[in-house]
């Protein structure tokens, strides 16, 4: 459920202006409404071929939103929100099958960005984005907990492989290894498994005490400002540690 917030037509209009780029305008105008995208969409196929589920309908709704600007109303926004979050996973399959190559995923992302301007973001996603701002990761893990986890995993690893380490903030290492915040939270063993591989391969690597979460869930909210902030955290860590490469968990 999204939080109920007051409508802000002015902000919506600004978001429309900000998000209207050349590709979006072109795509929404040239769509020939041919319907060839229909059976490329899993929402359409999984809902007994409900025509309202085809990708082109989602594109049309974004076009309507762009045209409404500050004439936006609650009812439209509510329906728009459910379509844009509930009926598209931004998988881009329809893009591959569209004769014009119209990228509905990007269009959906724009639609979500418009919802962001109204604070209309699924509550869990909102919390997650707040966590990135507060803790630098999506799972509300404090820096202390993070370092503790790494040290604990290092101890476990050393019982098996004496001499193996999980280096933290090693300046000038070749590789900075980043993880999904779910790993320290729920599957810390994953980190020691990777450390084992790095150790046995003789790799010069390090982990960072900050900017270590490589997920970017703000991207799924079309919140590009937050998404850029999150990416920047990892980039900053890489530059500070003067590593040559950033490796990302699978």
């Amino acid at each position: 459920m999204a939080e109920v917030t007051a409508l802000d037509p002015k902000k919506f209009k600004e978001a429309v202006k900000d998000k209207s780029n050349a590709r979006l305008k072109m795509w929404l105008e040239i769509c020939a409404h041919c319907g060839l995208c229909a059976d490329t969409c899993h929402f359409y196929l999984a809902n007994d071929k409900d025509p309202e589920m085809i990708p082109a309908v989602k594109g049309r709704k974004v076009l309507e939103a762009l045209r409404k600007k500050d004439k936006i109303d609650e009812e439209f926004l509510e329906d728009f929100y459910w379509t844009i979050y509930g009926e598209c996973t931004m998988c881009r399959r329809c893009t591959m099958f569209c004769p014009f190559g119209i990228d509905i995923a990007t269009i959906t992302s724009t639609g979500r960005g418009l919802c962001v301007s109204q604070g209309k973001v699924p509550e869990n996603l909102k919390k997650t984005i707040a966590s990135y701002y507060e803790h630098g990761n999506q799972m509300e893990i404090t820096q202390e907990e993070w370092i503790d986890t790494l040290q604990w995993m290092e101890e476990e690893l050393q019982e098996e492989l004496p001499g193996a380490t999980i280096p933290i903030d090693k300046k000038g290492a070749k590789v900075l290894y980043t993880v999904n915040a779910r790993e320290p939270k729920f599957y810390p063993m994953d980190i020691s498994q990777v450390a084992r591989v790095f150790y046995l391969a003789g790799e010069d690597w390090t982990m960072s005490s900050k900017g270590w979460d490589d997920t970017n869930l703000a991207m799924f909210a079309g919140d590009l400002k937050a998404a850029a902030y999150i990416s920047q955290l990892v980039r900053d860590a890489a530059e500070e540690l003067e590593v040559r490469r950033v490796a990302i968990t699978e």
């Binding site: 050349a22 072109m26 105008e29 769509c31 409404h33 319907g35 059976d39 190559g101």
Partner: protein, 216 residues
């Protein structure tokens, strides 16, 4: 000035002016806006993926064509005849020769006649698709029928004029009017895809190409 002279002269100039000028403006707007707001296009620009993307869709070398053989066949026939017939029609060639003293190869008259019928037949198929397929009907607006009508009108009237059905002079004037109307609406409607197709295919081809995932 008679209605014929008006349609043959100033209005034709106007139609070509709006058509060409409109498309030039569309392209300028695309470049001015995209250089500011669509940076990924230029950052990951690739001639290779641009041409591969256009090539696989300008000929039916893609999954969509394989999955929809009938619609693909109709679509290609429609577009080929639509472009070739007016450009290589003998009667049009004569007009160009009279006005500008230039001439080029033209189609045998009977071939052009059949091609016109193919366009009309394909147009009817596309309209029926819109009416009977729920997933096409759902995205169909009045504009889609109108534009299909505007596209077919010059061919229907051209066919009637060639065979001199009904009153020849009236049909001819209508033919000229609809032809000019079609040119005029192109830059402002989805018909602009005749050119924007290449831009759209290019940006998506490059976007998928940089991930080594061909978009066809």
């Amino acid at each position: 000035m008679s209605l014929y002279e008006l349609l043959r002269g100033p209005l034709l100039w106007l139609a070509f002016g709006v058509f060409i000028g409109g498309m030039v403006v569309r392209i300028i707007l695309f470049f001015t806006l995209s250089t500011k707001k669509d940076k990924p296009i230029y950052r990951f620009f690739s001639w290779k993926w641009l041409w591969l993307s256009i090539f696989h869709w300008i000929v039916p070398l893609n999954q969509t064509a394989k999955k929809n053989p009938i619609t693909t066949t109709v679509g290609f026939l429609f577009h080929i005849c639509l472009l070739v017939t007016p450009l290589f029609l003998l009667a049009h060639g004569v007009l160009w020769y009279e006005s500008w003293d230039i001439s080029w190869w033209s189609l045998p008259e009977s071939t052009a006649d059949y091609m016109t019928l193919i366009i009309i037949g394909c147009g009817i198929f596309l309209a029926l698709r819109r009416i009977f397929l729920p997933y096409v009907r759902v995205v169909t607006t009045a504009a889609d029928y109108l534009l299909l009508g505007v596209t077919l009108a010059p061919f229907v009237t051209g066919y009637l004029a060639y065979h001199q059905y009904f009153d020849y002079n009236t049909v001819l004037l209508l033919h000229m009017f609809f032809g000019e109307l079609m040119l005029v609406v192109i830059p402002f409607t989805k018909l602009s895809h005749f050119l924007m197709f290449f831009f759209s295919r290019a940006v998506t081809g490059m976007e998928f190409g940089r991930r080594r995932a061909p978009s066809w």
